[in-house]
Symmetry: C2
Subunit: 316 residues, 2 copies
């Protein structure tokens, strides 16, 4: 099987949008952005042995490669539209490509994303997706913007994906699904436009990612362990509270949103999340300074063993 046959297999299932003037099959894609909007662009790569284990199901990899990029657009309150896919494979494997595209397009269809270009090439298994969407000027959410008095929120139940990674083959299905098929929070991101002050997606761990918001905003935060949302699956899977806190605060791969909003807009946040059918929990507040304190139920500081995923170096 040559590259061109692989590309043809992908092209046949690439999805359609009226704003795709010319999709897969030329030197570049031609796309018609909507007038009066900003283009929102993100690119993330997943490498075998680093971001996923050898032998991972190709359909899960397709789903996840798109999900991690959709999550970036969710954190900007953007509406996704077009994806480019670079797929490096050790050998031309039509079965792998078909299953991969099945998983990719299953999630793409949910968010009306069309696959418009990219390349397939030989190399160690690696997936790089560039994703494009739109946002009306001023409606975007940024990392910078958190203010004193803001509440710190998180969607869903972070820590589930980290627990699945920790438990490996022993992980229950509910946790594994969170690791293998994350659900990017696009509806929530868009609903929070005009309400939230700052937003980021939790890819490297709640404390690490919240830390980026704090650094960009020039503020600090206090997070309360007792307020961390805990899924029934995580509670059942890990008996030790400290192990759960570690997953919740330092575990990556959840792709929830962490955002801040004024305390006096609490009801508006609740309504926005309800409209987006997304659970959300206040876990703390923005304070002066630049640090993030984690406060235990007894009022003492709790020091996590690690703050999040380090792409280079040791991970606790």
């Amino acid at each position: 099987m040559a590259e061109f046959e692989l590309i043809e297999r992908i092209r046949r299932r690439a999805g359609r949008r009226d704003d795709v003037v010319l999709g897969i099959g030329d030197d570049a894609a031609l796309l018609a952005p909507p007038a009066g909007h900003w283009l929102v662009a993100a690119q993330d790569t997943l490498n075998e042995g680093v971001h996923f284990a050898p032998g991972s199901a190709p359909a899960d990899l397709g789903w996840k490669a798109l999900a991690v990029n959709l999550s970036d657009l969710a954190a900007m309150a953007a509406t996704p539209a077009w994806a480019l896919l670079s797929l490096s494979l050790p050998r031309a494997d039509a079965g792998f490509v078909d299953a991969f595209v099945d998983g990719f397009m299953a999630l793409a269809a949910e968010h009306a994303v069309a696959l418009v270009g990219g390349d397939t090439t030989r190399g160690p298994l690696s997936i790089s997706v560039a994703l494009h969407g739109f946002v009306a000027p001023g409606r975007e959410l940024r990392r910078a913007g958190a203010r004193l008095g803001d509440e710190v929120w998180v969607t869903g139940t972070p820590g589930d994906a980290a627990a699945a990674l920790r438990l490996g083959r022993e992980a229950p299905a509910a946790l594994r699904a969170r690791l293998e098929r994350p659900l990017p929070r696009l509806a929530a991101g868009r609903a929070l436009a005009g309400i939230a002050h700052a937003c980021i997606d939790v890819s490297d761990g709640l404390l690490a990612d919240l830390g980026h918001v704090l650094a960009a905003s020039g503020v600090g935060a206090e997070i309360e362990l007792a307020r961390l949302p805990l899924s029934a699956a995580l509670e059942a899977a890990l008996a030790d509270p400290a192990a759960r806190w570690h997953c919740q605060l330092a575990g990556g791969d959840d792709y929830e949103l962490c955002f801040t909003a004024p305390a006096d807009r609490h009801a508006a946040v609740r309504a926005a999340l309800a409209a987006a059918a997304t659970a959300g929990t206040v876990i703390g507040r923005i304070v002066a300074g630049g640090d993030c304190r984690v406060i235990a139920a007894d009022g003492r500081d709790w020091t996590p063993p690690a703050r999040g995923y380090q792409h280079f170096g040791s991970n606790a």
Copy 2:
């Protein structure tokens, strides 16, 4: 060195453009496309051991990773603007990243391209660039559109990069430069808008890439060996004419443009190329059918040992 320090090293030298609302440092870039234009998007990946040899100079890799994508935009007659860079590295190597970005930005600056996002991650050395530009609707060049009676043109002197690859350390500097620092033909592509009928960039080999134009256009071609432009460096480096023809017709990595234009617009093509300071040569013509004949000086067909680079499978 953590990922965030690497990103900061890249961010400091990412280049500026007025249409970059928010560049490196958030979940996604915010970009302001010009009104009334199509967005042109391409993504290409280079893997160590496949697209470049282990030990290649990082500055050359930075240059080339952008060049191959600029070449795709050149073939569409687009004007480039914004790049996303995904860089996978076996370890966090600040010296490598600095030199890589030097090479990348040296070419980016020539074409007013800003680096606006992407990621750095651990993995086998691999570079994936997504490049964005613009073209006015109807001014784009496509692979489809070649017509009976068109002349077939190529810019520059294809085969030089393939000869450099073949000769390895023995290759003269003039040929090595063509392999390591290809010059994408953006000015030529734009100058040919409204004149050329079809265009492609020569990345996999002249016959292979011209074959894509013929397939997309539903036509055939006749190419004359005697008309192939030959650089002095290639003539000096390879004494055997058949070895040279093989480099010229089946060698990849030249990133010249191959295009077709009506014979009665020959003077207009000449003027456009002169305005773009780019050499160009008529090497044949579009004919009926779907095949590409290669005709030797004695009028007989010449069969090349291979038609171009195969991404999966054996390469002659």
